[in-house]
Structures are given as C-alpha cells and as structure tokens.
Amino acid sequence: MSELHGLQTQITEFEEAGARVIAVSPDPVEKNRTVAQRFDISYPILSDAELELTDALGLRHEGAGMEDYAPDVPRPATFIIQDGRIVWRDLTDNWRVRIKADDLLAALRDVTGT
C-alpha cells in the first residue's frame, strides 16, 4: 500500500477531524492523474513541477530525481497546517520510510485538539 493510498483509506477520519488533505508532487499533471486513478485517490495531488512551493518551504533535494529532465525533487515531508501556518511536521530521516496515516491522524488530533 503506497503512502498516498494509505492516506486515502483514512480520508473520512481526516475529514471528520476537520482537515483537508492535499498532496504535492514534482510530477506533471498527467502523471499525477495516473497515480490518482491507480490508487483511487479522491483528494488533490498538486503538480509542483517548477518546485515553486517546494523551494518556498525549503524542501528541495538536489540530484535525487530519477529522470534527467527533473534532477531535483522535494524531500518527503508531511505538514499539519492550521490558520495558514505550519504547526507540525514530519521530515523523515530515511526517504523510504514515510509516516503512516494512523500516526498522522493521531498527530492531527493531538496538535489541533480535535
């Protein structure tokens, strides 16, 4: 089960906790559409191909991309945002390991008091 699919399985719980889920990927819109359809994703996956949002948050990982045309990608990162500001983050120290939806939901309830 992929990271995005894991979030999808708990999307109702996130919504009940009052939170919206948005993913950001460095891939073009078409590729994100393929991923969304493959894993039955209902929430947005934004295409940050120019790494505009990635750079605004200091997330660029140089040289980690697989394709020649996109050598840089964001580091895996998950944020909880409230009232427009970052209130919690998970920056994994191992890019194979991403936060589980269960743990993220617990953090959301803890941080936002829902």
């Binding site: 995005l4 993913a23 990927s25 947005p44 580091r75 945002i81 500001r85 209130v87 390991v97």
Partner: protein, 149 residues
C-alpha cells in the same frame, strides 16, 4: 546395495549440471528486484526490507551449498561466480536500505513551524487550480510526495 548407494551419493555431484550454482544468483536477482517491483508497496516490507534480506541471505546460502559440489575447474568457476553475484546483490540491497536511503538534505533548511504557507496556485490531477494559502485557512494536511511510494 549400501555400497553402491554410497558410491552413487559421492559420485553424483560430479555428474550432471550443478543446479545450485545457478539457483543461488537467480534467487538473488529475484530477492533484489521483488523489493522494488512488489514488496516496497507495503510499509511492513518496505520500511525495513526484512523479507528481501532473508531471500538474499537464502540465495547466498544456496550459492555456498553449490561450492562443495563443484568438482571441475569450470564448475568451481561457475559456483564462484554465482556466489559472487549472490553476495554482491545482498550487499547492494544493504547499501541501498542502510546508507542511500538516509541521504537527505539537512533538515535545518526546511522552514520552521509557524511559517505562513505562501499563496501559490498549482494544478491538481483533475485540472482544478488550488491556491495552497487559501486551502491552508482550514486545517490542512500537506504531503510532499516524490513518487514511487
């Protein structure tokens, strides 16, 4: 009868093809590729690749078992090459999982808690244009995903 049986047993390895010498590296290839093609889809197999490490360790074991069965010079060369491939692929997965995976930029470069989400509008997979700052007025989970899993 027992005499002929034991003669058969000791003679058997020198005859025919030493399948274990080929089975070891083949199992090692399966052990490495199946991580990326299949098992990495589930966190239980992905986060610590225990199953693939076990398969690769098994491949090294099979290659080691092939060694004493090799009698001729060519057989020893084949068994040796098989063992080399098995050990090399096990080493490759270890390098990937325990070294490469930790290569990330300094976390200090990431903006601090309390930072306001900038007004940047990006397109979603269904064509919807979303201003992240506007979406961040509610509670928002923002996940940076860079592919594969």
């Amino acid at each position: 009868m027992s005499e002929s049986g034991s003669a058969e047993a000791t003679a058997a390895p020198s005859r025919g093809f030493n399948f274990l010498a080929l089975a070891g590296p083949l199992l090692a290839v399966v052990g490495l590729l199946s991580y990326f093609l299949y098992f990495s889809m589930w966190p239980v197999f992905r986060d610590f690749p225990w199953l693939n490490l076990l398969i690769l360790a098994g491949a090294v074991g099979v290659s080691l078992m092939a060694w004493p069965r090799a009698r001729s010079g060519l057989g020893r060369a084949g068994a040796g090459a098989g063992l080399f491939v098995s050990v090399a692929l096990l080493g490759l997965l270890c390098f990937y999982a325990f070294h490469l995976s930790y290569q990330l930029p300094d976390a200090g470069r990431v903006v601090d808690d309390g930072t306001r989400i900038p007004a940047i509008t990006l397109a979603s997979w269904d064509g919807e244009q979303i201003d992240v700052a506007a979406a961040a007025n509610d509670k928002l989970i923002l996940v940076f995903y860079r592919g594969h899993w």
